[in-house]
């Protein structure tokens, strides 16, 4: 499969860079279960270009069935970028002639995505105090982008989210008192509905490219984009599973709630109450707990048996350890 991708990228170099263009580098960066990311470069008449390929390498599985197509992802990056969001530049959406399957190409953005480096590496010490505010600002341009029609984006609210995750939890057959209590509590404390907006859907430390000099460089990984409560995107980046060992810094392990909210309001976002963010944060822990259960089930019931899946299943207890504290604190 690796050879196929390299050969296809070499052909793509001609298509994008002209007849004389040559592929100078191609390296697979990471492999999710169903998604591949490659860094590659080519040199052509117009000079060298450093690019990123994102391609789907396996059919949708149950968990990713909720995700959007890569063509939709590319479209959303273009639309939010045109509205001022910090996103990569889409260079090319692949078609059948490229032989890469479902894929698109974007211009490479330099920086760091590893969550623990952002929270703990000395390179980020100077910029770290500015990041929560920048994340708030970054969300405004996304949320203010009119949701495009014709892309089949799902609209969800708190009640629908709780229904969906409870259905998955019940079907799993696991009996977990803390998850039961979290479902019950969150149902009782649902916030008033708001006008739904375009959401990134997976806005957390790990999916944002940070630059040690400028901070937020690009918001990546748009596959869970949907339409819903703007506080959902804020709550997810505050969920403790994405704080990478720094629970004392609620926003991504690098910043404070007040800075996230102030950045959002200052950039023109409709002000959001902290309690609303905390609701979605608690729902975020519950969501991640159910997703961990799903990972275990995909190992138990699926044909593929990678060892990380049942071990992710053991991460349900991290969400329980967080949820009992949040339930004790209350919203």
């Amino acid at each position: 499969m690796e050879l196929d991708v390299r050969a296809a990228l070499a052909r793509l170099a001609h298509r994008l860079g002209g007849a004389g263009a040559t592929l100078t580098e191609a390296q697979r960066l990471s492999g999710g279960a169903s998604m591949e990311t490659w860094a590659f470069s080519f040199d052509g008449a117009a000079g060298p270009e450093r690019l990123i390929l994102r391609r789907r390498s396996a059919p949708f599985d149950e968990e990713t069935a909720r995700s959007v197509s890569l063509a939709t992802e590319a479209k959303l990056i273009q639309l939010t970028g045109a509205n001022g969001a910090r996103v990569p530049t889409v260079r090319h959406v692949c078609d059948d002639a490229d032989g890469l399957g479902e894929a698109y190409i974007m211009v490479r953005v330099d920086g760091e995505t590893l969550g623990r480096k952002i929270t703990s590496d000395a390179r980020f010490d100077a910029i770290r105090p500015a990041l929560a505010r920048q994340c708030g600002e970054a969300l405004v341009a996304i949320h203010a982008t009119p949701p495009p029609s014709g892309l089949n984006l799902k609209t969800v609210d708190a009640a629908l989210e709780l229904d969906r995750y409870e259905e998955v939890y019940r079907a799993a057959g696991a009996r977990r008192p803390i998850l039961e209590l979290a479902f019950q509590y969150l149902r009782k404390h649902r916030p008033e509905p708001v006008d739904p907006v375009l959401l990134h859907g997976d806005f957390r430390n790990g999916n944002i490219m940070f630059d040690p000099e400028i901070g937020v460089a690009a918001v990546l990984d748009w596959e869970l984009a949907h339409i819903g409560d703007p506080a959902e995107d804020m709550g997810w980046i505050c969920t403790n599973s994405w704080r990478f060992g720094r629970p004392d810094r609620p926003v991504g392990g690098f910043g404070d709630y007040a800075d996230l909210l102030a950045g959002y309001a200052a950039a023109g976002g409709r002000p959001i109450d902290l309690s609303r963010v905390r609701f979605w944060q608690m729902l975020g822990s519950l969501r991640w707990g159910v997703m961990c259960l799903t990972m275990y089930l995909s190992w138990r019931d699926g044909a593929e048996k990678p060892v990380e899946r049942p071990m992710i299943g053991r991460r349900v207890s991290e969400t329980e350890a967080d949820l009992v504290v949040l339930l004790e604190q209350g919203l």
Partner: protein, 123 residues
């Protein structure tokens, strides 16, 4: 139980061996090997800490429910009574019991995980 070696020592031996060969593996297998070594460490902790954690959970759930039973029975009844709405965060002793149970479980699954509230906020 056999003591020379104990079961958790077998798990430790496998984990050490995985760590030894890890540098020779390609990136994907090196990652999976690290996960496998972590799995062996979890098994080792469950063997050494699991029985006391389960006994504590049985005692705590029994107190909340006011009856005795096996772990599976008490756990299932607790879930049923929360799901039905009979028990809530207001139920005396419930959250306190679940907090201890959660801490014992994370100590087995991920002892390095820092839960919500486990570090005081930076000034």
């Amino acid at each position: 139980m056999i003591t020379h070696p104990r079961t958790e020592e077998l798990a430790q031996a496998v984990a050490l061996w995985i760590d030894q060969i890890r540098p020779t593996l390609d990136p994907r297998n090196a990652f999976l090997a690290r996960v496998a070594a972590n799995a062996m460490a979890t098994i080792s902790r469950e063997i050494t800490q699991g029985p006391a954690a389960e006994a504590e959970a049985v005692r705590l759930m029994g107190e909340v429910l006011g009856r005795s039973g096996t772990h599976a029975e008490l756990n299932a009844e607790l879930c049923d009574r929360i799901q039905s709405g009979e028990m809530t965060v207001e139920t005396p002793g419930l959250l306190a019991a679940l907090t201890v149970i959660a801490r014992d479980q994370i100590a087995i699954d991920q002892p390095n995980y820092r839960p919500e509230g486990s570090l005081s906020p930076t000034p």
